[in-house]
């Protein structure tokens, strides 16, 4: 019985920092990026969803990603490194955001 209880206790412990990678969504609608997700960690995936009838991009200012988004399309970026990544649409430079990847 004791080993079983010990096993349960392990299961009930808080998730360690090295939890499985997660997926976050950033939507583009009416010429704007939606608010960026909080708590993005290295290894997580960002899915960019373009709901506009216009072609957009999600382009990191430091060159670490550059995703082309035709009208009504979606694409993924896996965030490998920690840091604050300022991004914009290279076709509509007023569309901007900052993605923070932490531990």
């Amino acid at each position: 019985m004791r080993p079983l209880i010990a096993g349960l206790a392990v299961l009930l412990l808080p998730m360690p920092a090295s939890a499985a990678p997660r997926t976050h969504v950033v939507v583009i609608d009416k010429m704007k990026f939606s608010p960026v997700p909080a708590a993005v960690r290295p290894g997580d995936t960002i899915i960019w969803v373009n709901k506009d009838m216009f072609r957009h991009s999600a382009t990191a200012r430091n060159g670490s990603f550059n995703v082309d988004l035709p009208p009504n399309s979606r694409a993924k970026t896996v965030m490998r490194a920690k840091g604050a990544f300022a991004f914009y649409c290279k076709y509509h430079p007023a569309m901007t955001g900052v993605l923070k990847v932490g531990g």
């Binding site: 009838m53 216009f54 072609r55 009208p71 076709y91 509509h92 430079p93 007023a94 569309m95």
Partner: protein, 174 residues
């Protein structure tokens, strides 16, 4: 164009941009659709001229965006008028826009290199300012059909960014 006709066209555009008081008696949906489509088609034509003449990478990138975005809006506009069974109606404002664009095209055709790039950027900033003013003050308030109004509002959001982009391009080329 005669001086009188030019003045008339300028007056029409000015009235269009500053006519919220007469919005109730403003253009019909068929006229609004025609004005919006004409403005988009004229800007796409200006972009094609720029892509033929300019060798500046920034100017060309801007023109490509103009061509793509305006064609996308106009494709939607065509689909919408078909769905609503509205026949876009030609009108004095569309004609004034077309006349002015024809003059600009001729003026730009005579320019080359940096002079062309500067004139194209300045005209794009001015053209978007005029059309955005008309959308905001006259066309959107006058539109009866909700879908047409929605498309015009999407257009205004887009063209507002085009205007800022054109103004930025214009100042970077000075």
């Amino acid at each position: 164009m005669t001086r009188r006709a030019r003045l008339l066209a300028a007056a029409t555009l000015a009235a269009l941009g500053a006519a919220p008081l007469i919005a109730a008696a403003g253009p019909s949906d068929a006229e609004i659709a025609h004005i919006a489509y004409t403005a988009g088609a004229l800007d796409a034509a200006a972009a094609k001229q720029a892509l033929t003449k300019s060798r500046n990478a920034e100017v060309r990138a801007f023109a490509e965006v103009m061509l793509r975005d305006h064609e996308a809006v106009n494709d939607k506009a065509l689909a919408l008028v078909k769905k609503l069974k509205v026949t876009p109606a030609d009108n004095a404002t569309s004609q004034a826009l077309a006349r002015q664009a024809k003059e600009t095209e001729a003026k730009l055709a005579a320019l080359d290199g940096a002079a062309f790039d500067r004139a194209y950027a300045a005209n794009e900033a001015a053209f978007h300012r005029t059309v955005n003013g008309a959308l905001k003050d006259t066309l959107i308030p006058s539109a009866d059909n909700a879908e047409l109004k929605g498309l015009l509002e999407t257009g205004l959001t887009l063209f507002g960014q085009h205007q800022a982009h054109a103004e930025h391009l214009e100042s970077s080329l000075k």
